[in-house]
Amino acid sequence: MDNYPVLIVVAPLITALLAGLFVWIEERLSYPIVLAGLAVSVFSAINVLIQVLASGSIQYKMGGWPPPIGIEYRIDLLNAMVLCLVSGVAFLNLIASCRSVKQEISDRAGSYYTIYNLFVTGLLGVTATGDLFNLYVLIEITSLTSYAQVAMGDRDRGPLASLNYIFIGVIGASFYLLGVGYLYIQTGSLNMADVAAIIKDAPASSTVLTAFILCILGIWIKMALFPMHVWLPNAYSYSPVVFSRVVAPLMTKVMVYVMIRLMITVFGYDYVFKTLHLADAVVWLATIAVLAGGIMALAQKNLKKMLAYIIVCEIGYMVGGAWLGNRLGMTGAILHILNDALMTFALFLGVGNIIYKIRNVDLTDLKGLFGKMPWTMGGFVLAALSIIGVPPTCGFFSKWYLLLGALEKGAYHFAAALIISSLICAVLFFKVFEICFFEPALHGLENPHSHGAIEEAPVSMLIISGLVSLSLIAAGFYSGTIVNRIIIPFLG
């Protein structure tokens, strides 16, 4: 079928609207509707990936309008992979969400599902589109829906966190839009491939430079690259856990994808690394981001917030890798989009299970958790090891490529930051594990070793978190295949 590319995006969009209607008719039906929409999306994404692997990039012209007038979806190996990732994570999270939503936002479940699917639509569209302005629109759909979802969380601090997020998010979006405007001035086109072809032949101009810097800056704000990260920790930790589970792994990663897309497809390798001399400075910035993210995470007393700062640190990995300017670094960055999404997802699924049971995840609340929730913690430990970068989990292998890239470039500071951040993450997580393992459970009996009865999360949530945690090992083992089949052919 030729319409798979568009089906990926349209299925969740239509079901979102349907689910919205059903809030008035029969609210219980909203959930199966959105679930079905995402299932179609996952199915189409996998089909598209198979097609792209078999026969190269797919171009899909919206409404049959030829580019550059019409909007074009152009799907190559990179975004085929990201599409599978986004739709898969969103789908799995939705399955695990059923119980949490009932618990956290039962009064507004139907509307929540509507917004959720709109959010996913935005992310998928951002990934699929080949049009710069369309990209902006979809980023805004994603952002607006996430403001709303953040505000649905913690009754006291959720709205404030959301407001903060709005302010900074809007600034980021405006930067990006302004950049696109400059590009349009220079090229008269909004289609990525078209723009790329025109810039390539034109002599370097300050208009293009301005456009590039504005676009990249806007995206950096959206992805929370240090020091533009301040909105992220609060937004992610005060939102309902069903939402943080999906926004934490996906939002920033999709923005990294957009950055890489702009660098490789729109402006081109030569322009970014040869004409401009920004790469070294950006790698330094990434180095600082990695370290700062790790150090700030150390200071946190709440598990969710700690994980949010780890995301800031991981963003540094990917930005640094992409800006090293060699294939190994870029390979590491792209591989890390996949790996980091999976491991963050696994971590937050663990957090979701814990919150379902004990409501609060201040570190002191976690006492005796290994005894109470052994399966959840097992999955959480695997994900944590992946963040630390212990083989055979996938986190090790992307770090492997990033380190090789750093050595090849001679960026020893970045390599050192990667190693140090591994150590910091080890400290971070073992601090948590110590509390979970050594401290007796709060409501437990007097004897610290009789950890009381096992009180696990519902099976549906356990299965998802277990599956995703195991997928970390699978992704680790198959990282060679992923690199050889997807990333290296993409980089050409």
Partner: protein
């Protein structure tokens, strides 16, 4: 060299790992649970043994699982060295399992299912290290082993084990991430491969200063080998239940550290490069310091397990020392010490645990006169001590003998003195324990309030007798292991 493709190495690694779900599912029925451990342990041992004939014929067994990057795959290759280590670890696992049942039930420990599960994972990782075909695979299993041992070390879940566990992680995980990982990636960056090969992987790309730094990063980075100053996790880890100290901190974990260093020196750098750059001396000095200082500290320890721990630290460096001699005899002596020390030291730990379970005593000063009540245990302790000191009729004699010949062969007479002094020190810190046990007086406490003390239960005594006997047998029949080393190192 002929290479045979077989899935056996993978099976040998996985069999104890696959036992874990079964163990967990039968956690309510201890006898069933323990029988699974034996089934898995024995199958593992048999798989390892089934590969022995091929290896002794000079073949290698290999299996590639996943290609991660060119030259860095997840792959197994069984050669003489790996075989030797796997034989020791998998056979002692069975014996330790018997002992561990006696110990854990004797003390009525909590969380026994967790304990045996992680023990099984640790064993899988150990065999994985033994059979690794390249540094990446080795590193992978090395890390799994570090993490799997953490819950074993901290088994008591109290404040002391928390602190010890922290120390354990900082030293073991810290060094492997901060030193080994960058060194490994640098090697790959320079050569594009991590495959172990007798000639080394560097073909002239590595200037001497870089080689020196890399070698130091590896030697210190594999902190499981307990090279000073990265040794202090080992005495701290003695808070673990004794079966852990016995199998993991006298055999599996620490030997994995040493084995990794041996692999890196013989397979990554290659003997040729090391002797060209004259780097052996540097490692020998580092090892000698650890040998002597470790022995001296051992002398001053009153807690039996801590004394054994420091003795282990010093003995491990014998192995590194032997390999650093870079001479055939030195290599032989060093590597065979992996075997000899394993059987000697595990006997000693078994005895320490047996004494603790039977009497509750941990300190040597309390052990006066115990030998009369626990003659078998103390006799085994005596044999184990002989093995570590290196006196006949125990296998330990064989390794010390070769090491000393190795120093002569390499014309390093000064270092021969180190070995001799250390042997004296060993005798000084072990034999008094035996003497005190048999001929010393019981403490006042016992005189006033006589308690009936007898041997620990049979499940503990039989294993320690078996290991003691094996360490004597090894004095007479070390041939299999010698052949394995000769095949493995091509000497």
């Amino acid at each position: 060299m002929e290479t045979v493709f077989s899935i056996k190495p993978l099976l040998a690694v996985l069999v104890t790992l696959f036992a874990v779900p079964v163990i967990i599912s039968s956690s309510g029925r201890p006898n069933v649970r323990e029988s699974w451990i034996f089934v898995a342990g024995i199958i593992k041992f048999l798989i390892v043994c089934s590969m022995l004939p091929d290896i002794l014929e000079g073949k290698q067994i290999s299996l590639t699982l996943f290609e991660i990057a060119p030259g860095a795959s997840l792959a197994f290759r069984v050669d003489g060295l790996g075989m030797l280590f796997a034989l020791v670890a998998s056979s002692l696992y069975i014996i330790t399992s018997v002992y561990s049942i006696g110990y854990m039930r004797g003390l009525d420990e909590h969380g026994q299912t967790r304990f045996v599960s992680f023990f099984a994972v640790a064993l899988s990782a150990t065999i994985g290290v033994a059979f690794s075909a390249n540094l990446l695979t080795l590193y992978l299993f090395y890390e799994i082993l570090s993490l799997a041992t953490y819950p074993l070390v901290t088994h008591h879940q109290d404040e002391i084990s928390k602190i010890s566990g922290r120390k354990y992680l900082v030293f073991i995980l810290g060094t492997s991430i901060a030193l080994v990982l960058p060194a490994m990636i640098y090697c790959y960056h320079v050569t594009g491969t991590l495959e172990f090969s007798p000639a080394g992987i560097f073909t002239g790309q590595l200037p001497k200063p870089a080689a020196t730094v890399l070698l130091l990063m590896f030697v210190f980075g594999f902190a499981k080998a307990g090279i000073m100053p990265f040794h202090s996790w080992l005495p701290a880890a003695m808070v673990a239940p004794t079966p852990v100290s016995a199998l993991l901190h006298a055999v599996a974990v620490v030997k994995v550290g040493v084995f990794s260093i041996v692999r890196v020196m013989t397979g990554i750098f290659g003997i040729r490069l090391l002797s060209d750059y004259n780097l052996g001396i540097m490692v020998m000095i580092i090892a000698s310091v650890t040998i002597l200082v470790g022995s001296c500290i051992a002398l001053s320890q009153d807690e039996l397990k801590r004394r054994l721990a420091f003795s282990t630290i010093s003995q491990l460096s014998y192995i590194v020392f032997g390999v650093a001699l870079l001479s055939p005899q030195g290599l032989l002596g060093g590597v065979i010490h992996i075997v000899m020390h394993a059987f000697g030291k595990i006997t000693l730990f078994f005895c320490a645990g047996a004494i603790y379970v039977a009497t509750g005593k941990k300190y040597i000063s309390q052990m006066g006169g115990l030998g009369k009540k626990m003659p078998l245990t103390f006799a085994a302790f005596f044999i184990g001590s002989l093995g570590v000191i290196g006196l006949p009729p125990s296998g330990g004699f064989y390794s010390k003998w070769n090491l000393i010949i190795g120093t002569l062969e390499a014309q390093q007479t000064v270092f021969m003195i180190v070995l001799l002094i250390s042997s004296f020190l060993n005798a000084f810190y072990f034999l008094p324990i035996v003497y005190r046990g048999f001929f010393g007086k019981s403490g006042e406490e016992e005189v006033n309030r006589p308690v009936k003390i007898e041997e620990a239960n049979l499940r503990m005594v039989i294993p320690l007798i078996i290991t003691a006997i094996i360490s004597v047998v090894l004095f007479f029949y070390p041939t299999v292991f010698i052949n394995l080393i000769k095949v493995g190192l091509g000497i």
